[in-house]
């Protein structure tokens, strides 16, 4: 029996606190994924995951094909990096990453302009692989979390005991972004196939797809295609930020919370993002490394040809924007965000590349840019941040301890549990950089504990 949209919304599960954001997904949520023309060159950083920089395995002059390994390191915490176009390696050198730092990168000049994806042969017997084999494939094929953090997936899934439940994270709660949404609609089979692989890998007997109710078409198609699988269920979750954080999604779907400092596996769950799940399918079943991804290019009415585009990893932001008609000459005074508007990075150069965890590129015109002070205003104790913090913290007090140079005092206030969703800065009427202060406090604590 079909379920009406309003009924879905009424039933939608969620978590405490959080906030309603103007989600601005209408710009791109109806636009099918398009492959952009291949860029003349790509800059593939050798660190695209939360871990050590990998060593280059190619040198200038080498010919590489899309999907060839160009960087790897024999370290459990590393994930391999692959050529994203077919061409010639021109440089192996540090290149601007966009955050002010230089990261060792492999620059490849494209020689083959074929717009067709190279064919990868289906891996024989992929349905019956054991955990260790799957984990090895994920590491060698460069699978990392594609929703922002870039945590190596082979580490997440290396569980020692059986984890009963997999949650596929299709919440995509940040405004503007629609790449997960389009992936769930257009590559539904890959998302479901990836979920089956993860379930086998962690020994799960149940899989829940958590999708925000502002994506009714994704909910419907996932329901349709999992109808005959009793182990799989689609659970609509409320449109609320940050519904896509793993602990808030876990709370919405299971009603359980991992203990402080704990992981979702402590309550018998693994949470994986939908795009990553599709990439897992392509790596394990089709033998395709993670070297290209879908990104949303959007902004508050600022990008005429906004949409969802499939681009090779290492494509520069400059190329992405210019190939859809946004000229660099027109961007003085603009802010270009890699990622979403709440947690994304304002890049300092258009030469910064799209990397594996890049969900989108946002073009913010001067009129949409919030002024940011050099100084820090005082907290006026309105407690808006407390009332909205999804983790139940006291960001007002934590930020004041950090300001005073005593982050240790904030440890008792569970500063380490902060998910950096940035709601506290978003709501602060006195324009305090609350999130930034909390992140700074975490960094200070990490440094002092060394």
């Amino acid at each position: 029996m079909p379920v009406s949209t309003s009924e879905v919304k009424r039933r939608a599960k969620t978590f405490q606190r959080g906030i309603d954001l103007p989600h601005n997904k209408h710009y791109t949520d109806g636009k099918a994924v398009e492959r952009l023309p291949l860029p003349p060159f790509v800059v593939v950083p050798l660190r695209q995951h939360a871990g050590e920089t990998v060593e280059p395995t190619v040198k200038p002059g080498d010919h590489v094909s899309a999907g060839d390994v160009v960087g790897d390191l024999d370290d459990r915490w590393c994930s391999a990096v692959h050529a994203s176009v077919t061409g010639v390696v021109s440089e192996v050198e540090p290149r601007p990453f966009g955050d002010g730092t230089m990261v060792p990168s492999v620059v490849i000049r494209t020689t083959e302009q074929s717009r067709e994806a190279p064919a990868f042969a289906e891996r024989a017997g992929w349905q019956d692989l054991d955990q260790q084999t799957i984990l090895g494939i994920l590491k060698d094929f460069g699978i990392v979390g594609m929703a922002g953090a870039g945590f190596p997936t082979h580490i997440n899934l290396a569980v020692r005991s059986k984890i009963p439940m997999l949650i596929v994270n299709g919440a995509e709660c940040e405004p503007f972004l629609t790449s997960d949404h389009r992936t769930m609609i257009e590559r539904t089979d890959a998302v479901i196939g990836g979920a089956e692989i993860i379930m086998r890998c962690i020994g799960a007997d149940r899989c829940v797809f958590g999708v925000e109710t502002n994506k009714p078409d994704a909910i419907e198609v996932l329901r349709d295609k999992t109808r005959n699988n009793p182990a799989m269920e689609v659970v609509p979750v409320a449109v609320k930020y940050p519904q896509g954080y793993k602990k808030t999604l876990l709370r919405a779907i299971t009603g359980k919370d991992p203990p402080l400092g704990g992981r979702s596996s402590d309550v018998g769950c693994i949470v994986r993002n939908a795009s990553t799940t599709a990439a897992i399918y392509e790596a394990v079943a089709l033998g395709k490394p993670l070297y290209e991804r879908v990104i949303t290019v959007s902004g508050p009415g600022s990008v005429e040809r906004c949409g969802n585009y499939l681009v090779p990893v290492g494509t520069t932001i400059r190329y992405v924007l210019e190939s859809i008609g946004v000229r660099a000459e027109d961007l003085d005074g603009y802010k270009i965000i890699r990622g979403g508007p709440m947690t994304g990075l304002a890049v300092d150069t258009l030469d910064a590349p799209v990397v594996k965890p890049t969900t989108g590129i946002l073009v913010m015109p001067p009129s949409a840019i919030q002024p940011q002070h050099e100084w820090i205003n005082p907290c006026i104790r309105c407690s808006a941040c407390v009332n909205h913090c999804p983790v139940g913290l006291y960001p007002n007090e934590i930020s004041q301890f950090v300001e005073a140079g005593t982050p240790e005092a904030a440890e008792g206030l569970h500063i380490r549990e902060c998910c950096e969703c940035a709601i506290c800065s978003y709501v602060c009427p006195n324009y305090r950089p609350v999130t930034h202060l909390v992140m700074e406090g975490k960094a200070m604590l990490r440094q002092r504990s060394r």
Binding site: Y334, M342, A346, S425
Partner: protein, 301 residues
């Protein structure tokens, strides 16, 4: 290749709509304007002079301390000083000399705010600190009340006990400039509540605490609630963000404490009015309430 000058700032890159400290302070001032207008209508020109003197003195004092005079557009600041001055003026007797009111404002800003660390760091409500200072310096002037319209010297209904409930509710009784009309104060507070600026807990439990205590003393609870400064105190002073608890449970305890202390001071103390000291005393408990009544973090046992 052209390299545009990109703006680089910290996340988040979007901001909640039209929310800043000045707008919020202006909203609170707006909520107090009906009661202010009523006070001037009831008590005449001197009341207007007191309001102007207190507000101007507060703004100027803070601007002087912050050295904000170079830019005229910044003298008003975030609006919190103007609000302090207005709240103080509304809590003063209508016949008081405007110069006293100005001096009270200077004390409110200096001792109630900047010397405690400025907005956000002050433990005590600045307007009430100003009022407490004035009570010590000018005890007679601070307790001389006049009747509405004719200006004849009169006792407050708290002492005389002579006032109909409807007069108390509408405000046509002797009292401080802005405290007499419960109706207009309630309307202003309702506006702030709808705008999400104040929560219901503190005023509700303030009133509840005072009613229960009045009953215990066999006093008329309605006279306690609507006479004197209880309504303006409960709705606009005890709800000050900076000096009230941030958790719902803390607000409940804080509100009850304010109500109980107000009636205890009125019934047992030598002052006819108890709101000022009740709120100041409860202000002192806020750090403790905030510390022990926190909600749990996600996953905290």
């Amino acid at each position: 290749m052209y390299n545009p000058k990109l703006v680089v700032t910290r996340a988040p890159h979007i901001k909640i709509k039209v929310e800043n400290t000045r707008q919020i302070m202006l909203e609170v001032i707006l909520a107090l304007l009906p009661a202010t207008a009523m006070g001037i209508y009831l008590f005449g020109g001197n009341a207007a002079a007191v309001v102007v003197a207190a507000v101007v003195a507060a703004i100027v004092t803070e601007a002087a301390v912050d050295r904000r005079f170079s830019n005229p557009s910044e003298i008003f600041g975030d609006g919190s000083a103007a609000l302090t001055g207005l709240l103080l003026a509304l809590s003063l007797p209508p016949s008081i000399a405007p110069g006293y009111a100005a001096a009270g404002s200077v004390a409110a800003i200096l001792f109630g705010k900047v010397l405690q660390g400025g907005l956000g760091k002050n433990l005590f409500n600045p307007a009430l600190v100003g009022r407490a200072v004035m009570m010590v310096i000018w005890p007679a002037a601070m307790t001389t009340w006049v009747s509405p319209f004719d200006g004849a010297t009169s006792a407050t209904p708290l002492i005389s006990g002579e006032a109909t409930l409807s007069a108390l509710f509408l405000g046509t009784v002797p009292g401080s400039i802005g405290e007499t009309s419960a109706l207009l104060l309630l309307a202003g507070a309702l506006f702030l509540n709808i705008r999400g600026r104040i929560h219901w807990q503190i005023p509700f439990f303030f009133v509840l605490g005072s009613v229960l205590t009045a009953v215990a003393f066999r006093a008329n609870p309605l006279a306690h609630v609507f006479g004197g400064g209880l309504m303006i105190g409960a709705l606009f002073m005890a709800t000050d963000w900076v000096t009230s608890p941030m958790t719902p449970n803390g607000k409940v305890i804080f509100g009850i404490g304010c109500g109980v202390l107000t009636v205890l001071i009125r019934e047992l103390g030598r002052y006819p009015e108890g709101v000022t000291y009740a709120i100041l005393l409860m202000n002192a408990t806020v750090p403790l309430l905030d510390r022990y009544l926190k909600h749990k973090a996600l996953g905290e046992a």
